[in-house]
């Protein structure tokens, strides 16, 4: 890596549970995040599961 200061932003490719968690952690740690998702909404496969959790809260 060069000596110059890096860019303080990150691109997360994929808006499933993994991408959302990465994006939240990066944003909370002080980086600007772009979250790119192919479909019209984030949530990914987990949103499709009939899960025991109460709501589809994606903690955004």
């Amino acid at each position: 890596m060069s000596n110059k200061t890096p860019v303080g932003s990150v691109l997360v490719v994929g808006g499933g549970i993994t991408g959302m968690q990465s994006a939240l952690d990066m944003a909370e740690a002080g980086y600007y995040v772009y979250l790119a998702e192919e479909s019209p909404a984030i949530g990914g496969a987990m949103a499709q599961l009939d899960k025991t959790f109460p709501t589809n809260d994606c903690s955004m």
């Binding site: 303080g8 490719v13 019209p40 949530g43």
Partner: protein
């Protein structure tokens, strides 16, 4: 607010290097203006074009203008161009005509976006295996053969059938359902997926239990499997529960499914353990489909220029589990290999940690902070309440009489303004609310709408934008707890809504502004445990610029990894460990204390204080967060002559004493020694892979040595399955045994003899053995002290318990405390490293800040009334209230806001009623109660 969502977007190119990438993105048109769309649903109602609903796995129809699902984020409609009648035939535009906010944009175009970013994290996921190509299961043809993903939608209360399970052929409730495991996994003959998909056993068990809950005691679920792989935390107990609840588990791979009659009943023919052929009818068959890399994920990986492995998953190393072949690009989740939700979430945080390390010099340079106007002092003003009764489209307005509720509210005391927005939460309604608050000089706001659990923060922000304190706000839940559940009783629903609004208004009258609370953060960490996980966590924090102290009980660093030669993917563990110890030892931000133990701890997130005894010296360490990595070890055993015969060894004893192996004609591995039994009802996860690896190594070195593995289920999950296959190819003999018929090891004149019942041959085998190696259970290191000092829970088997099994796998429920490694659950080195990095990544979200906001809804002690009895301290579950020596006045209670969760137990048990809860004061609650009748 520092996350910018780019939906309908694909990466098209990347250039530059780590720290300074230029990425181009192609964003497809949505044809709906996101700013204007209020998701009222009118467009979809009017849209004449129906198409397959992919979110519901094709089991339902949706319109050409749609939101994928009701809770979608962003909750904005989109037009499916390929299905839209206007786009296809040039006529219609019904949505445009009916949209109340003019949000439809038929002239929307594709956009090219160029981004400048320091790192990229690739999390593009998996796709469920499509079984249509298998003619023996006839998924495409038989309506009652469904995939597991389709079955999830069938089970879902929000799914196409409202959670009512029925056969697709005739709508009848099924009495018998069969799950077929390993469809598109562990199969080289009919597809190329020779790996195990890791998650299917567990989800099949879950689906069978939930189906049983739905369908009642007469329902007969059956799961056809090869090896039951319930290797995750608390999974084995769930498997046992399923057995006790009547789920039938049949060890057999079903070859063909046929339809027996015109109603769609299905017939399976299978062979039992004993070799008997059985023909059985089922009402439905669920194919437990595996995971494959999604085509779009492969495309994204190729565009980003990262290497893939032979199964087209992103290639990583066992000692750098989230690093791709390209510096500055990290990977997490199922695009790297089949895995479950917790492991994906762990990797997500680990990838964030990695990206955080490479960008730490630029931390905080591009983030924005929201600035609110100064708060108006309204405390001493007469209450002026504004009431907003939301229609929520038709969700509320379609059932309750919203104008009547608003009119009723207007007559109540202190109410000076009412309104009936269509969607109170829409951006324009929010903007308008700010204006109205200012214009009407409102100082208390009541919103009658959905639930405060999801929407209170949104409205509180709106209040703050208008210069009001966030706690001058109250919600009346007239949707979730009223119109949605009383839709058949419109008048009663209106009456109840009026009551709820009256209660909210009464309470709002007494609300008071509550100043925000924050605590400063000590930007250093304490890591308890100096094994691979602890050291990785410390390095990962130090490389992000935070100081870390490692507390190690023993005299040297390395922990249980010191016994391990190779990772399952082949990396040299000792070399890795050597490098890690060296880096830890010389890192200027890391302090290592060996032969050291925590003896006392106090404090809360941002401000912990821990006393560590290191030899003669006691250190007092101030730290903002703590990571618990106390590790685990292989348990001892009294079974199988262990400790009584020199040729009976366990785990890595064999590898570490190669002289024993030389000349051995026969080596037997016994699995599950002390795991998956009554005492330890969990699977130790890594033993199958470890024994298979050792067996391969022996066969490679001494092909003539007979190697046997006696097992209960081989749990070489994920790509570890390839090792299992390789072992069989090399001639390792696998013999299954059951808990009821354990093998017996006896001493003979020339070594050992093992007797085991082979269920395939249906007879007992007698095998001579020169060496017997036992895969004993992995148990956590003694951790009762740590659990008590930091008040963190352990499960029944003494593994530390995370805040949430799926969504928060490295956090403890208490803020600022994290867990990783074997202390959490048995796991392989790559998984430990990922979890350690994840802990460091999660810790960075605390340490990166100068101070953290905490909920100000805490208890308040009236010191004049307090008699210092200490009852509150006794009842507080969080240690958040202490007795303090007040000068000359004896002891008085004191609230520690950072630890207080606002439960109010202290207030309701104070004998002098000297404690009250902010925002939930006695008089505020009583005000609501009085207005209820």
């Amino acid at each position: 607010m520092n996350i910018e969502l780019l939906t309908l977007s694909k990466v098209t190119s990347i250039s530059g290097d780590s720290g300074d990438f230029t990425v181009t993105i192609k964003q497809s048109p949505r044809f709906v203006d996101m700013e204007k769309c209020i998701a009222c649903g009118t467009c979809a109602e009017k849209c004449p074009a129906k198409t397959t609903d992919l979110f519901n796995e094709g089991l339902a129809k949706r319109k050409a203008i749609y939101v994928p699902y009701a809770q979608a984020v962003p909750l904005k409609y989109a037009i499916d161009k390929n299905r839209c009648i206007y786009f296809q035939k040039g006529k219609c535009r019904a949505c445009e005509k009916f949209c109340p906010t003019n949000a439809i944009k038929f002239d929307d175009t594709e956009k090219d976006i160029t981004l400048n970013v320091g790192s990229v994290i690739l999390t593009a996921g998996f796709t469920p295996f499509n079984p249509d190509r298998f003619d023996n299961y006839q998924h495409a043809k038989f309506p009652n053969v469904v995939t597991s993903m389709e079955f999830e939608r069938i089970l879902s209360a929000g799914g196409p059938f409202g959670g009512h399970i029925h056969r697709l052929s005739d709508g009848k409730e099924p009495k018998k359902i069969a799950w077929l495991q390993c469809v598109g996994s562990r199969d080289l003959n009919r597809c190329d997926n020779e790996y195990c998909s890791s998650v299917c056993c567990m989800y099949a068990v879950k689906e069978s239990i939930i189906a049983k809950e739905h369908l009642g005691p007469d329902f007969e679920p059956a799961i056809f499997f090869m090896d039951m792989r319930t290797h995750g935390k608390d999974f084995e107990k769930y498997y046992e529960r399923a057995k006790s609840q009547g789920v039938r588990f049949i060890r057999s791979r079903v070859h063909t499914v046929t339809e027996t009659d015109e109603t769609g009943t299905l017939n399976l023919v299978y062979t039992t353990d004993a070799g008997e052929r059985v023909s059985e009818d089922f009402d439905m068959v669920v194919l437990s489909v595996g995971m494959e890399p999604a085509a779009s994920a492969i495309e994204a990986a190729n565009t980003l220029g990262v290497e893939l492995n032979s199964y087209k998953f992103v290639k990583t190393s066992g000692i750098a589990p989230v690093a791709t072949s390209r510096e500055g690009i990290y990977v997490a989740g199922a695009i790297q290999g089949p895995k479950d939700i917790p492991q994906s979430v762990v990797e997500a945080s680990a990838a964030a940690c990695s990206a955080g390390i490479s960008l730490s010099a630029a931390r905080g340079t591009l983030v924005k902070e929201k600035i609110f106007p100064d708060e108006l002092a309204v405390q001493n003003e007469e209450p002026r309440i504004g009431v907003f009764v939301c229609n929520c489209g038709i969700n509320i307005g379609g059932i309750a009489d919203v104008p009547a509720i608003a009119a009723y509210a207007k007559e109540l005391g202190h109410v000076v303004y009412t309104e009936e927005p269509l969607f109170a939460c829409s951006q324009d309604a929010q903007d308008k609310m700010v204006e109205i608050i200012r214009e009407q000089r409102l100082n208390r706001i009541v919103v009658a709408a959905c639930t405060p659990r999801t929407h209170e923060p949104l409205f509180q922000e709106t209040l703050r934008n208008a210069g009001l304190n966030a706690y001058l706000f109250e919600m009346a839940n007239i949707r979730n707890q009223c119109t949605w559940v009383h839709s058949g009783e419109k008048e009663k629903a209106t009456g109840k809504a009026k009551d709820l609004v009256r209660m909210a208004i009464n309470r709002a009258t007494l609300l008071e502004p509550i100043p925000s609370l924050s605590v400063s953060v000590n930007k250093s960490a304490l890591v308890i445990g100096g094994g691979a996980a602890g050291m990785t966590a410390a390095i990962s924090l130090a490389d992000q610029g935070f100081n870390a102290t490692i507390v190690e009980k023993s005299a040297c660093l390395g922990g249980s990894a010191r016994d391990v030669h190779n990772t399952w993917s082949g990396e040299d563990v000792q070399q890795f460990l050597k490098n890690l110890i060296e880096r830890v030892s010389v890192h200027p931000r890391i302090t290592v204390l060996t032969q050291a133990e925590v003896v006392e701890a106090s404090g809360f997130v941002g401000n912990f204080e821990t006393r560590v005894q290191a030899g003669e010296k006691t250190h007092s360490i101030q730290h903002g967060i703590a990571i618990v990595a106390t590790g685990g070890q292989a348990a001892g055993t009294e079974e199988y002559l262990y400790g009584k015969h020199p040729s009976v060894t366990r785990w890595h004893d064999l590898e570490n004493h190669p002289e024993k192996l030389a000349g051995a004609g026969s080596v037997i591995f016994i699995q599950c020694v002390g795991s998956r039994d009554e005492k330890r009802p969990y699977c130790s996860r890594i033993c199958c892979t470890a024994s298979v690896l050792q067996a391969i190594a022996i066969k490679e070195k001494q092909p003539d040595t007979n190697v046997f593995i006696l097992y209960r289920d081989i749990r070489t999950f994920g790509e570890r399955e390839i090792l299992y296959k390789k072992a069989r190819e090399k001639g390792v003999i696998f013999i299954r045994y059951s808990l009821e018929k354990k093998p017996v090891v006896t001493e003979t004149t020339d070594g050992l003899e093992v007797r085991v019942f082979d269920p395939i041959l249906q007879k007992e085998l007698l095998i001579h053995a020169d060496l017997v190696n036992l895969a004993t259970a992995i148990e956590p290191s003694p951790n009762a002290d740590i659990a008590a000092f930091y008040k963190v829970p352990v499960n029944a088997e003494n593994f530390f318990m995370e805040a949430h099994a799926k969504l928060r796998p490295v956090d403890f429920a208490s803020d600022g405390l994290f867990v990783c490694g074997l202390a959490h659950y048995p796991k392989s080195l790559d998984e430990s490293i990922a979890q350690a990095m994840a802990a460091a990544g999660r810790a960075a979200t605390v340490l990166a800040r100068a101070s953290i906001l905490i909920s100000p809804l805490v208890s308040q002690v009236n010191r004049d009334m307090c008699i210092g009895c200490g009852l509150c301290t006794e009842v507080c579950p969080f240690g958040a209230i202490i007795q303090e020596d007040a000068d000359g006045k004896g002891f008085k209670a004191k609230n520690i806001s950072a630890s207080c969760k606002g439960c109010g137990l202290c207030a309701s048990s104070c004998p002098k009623k000297a404690i009250d809860m902010l925002h939930f004061r006695d008089d505020q609650i009583i005000a609501a109660v009085c207005a209820a009748a």
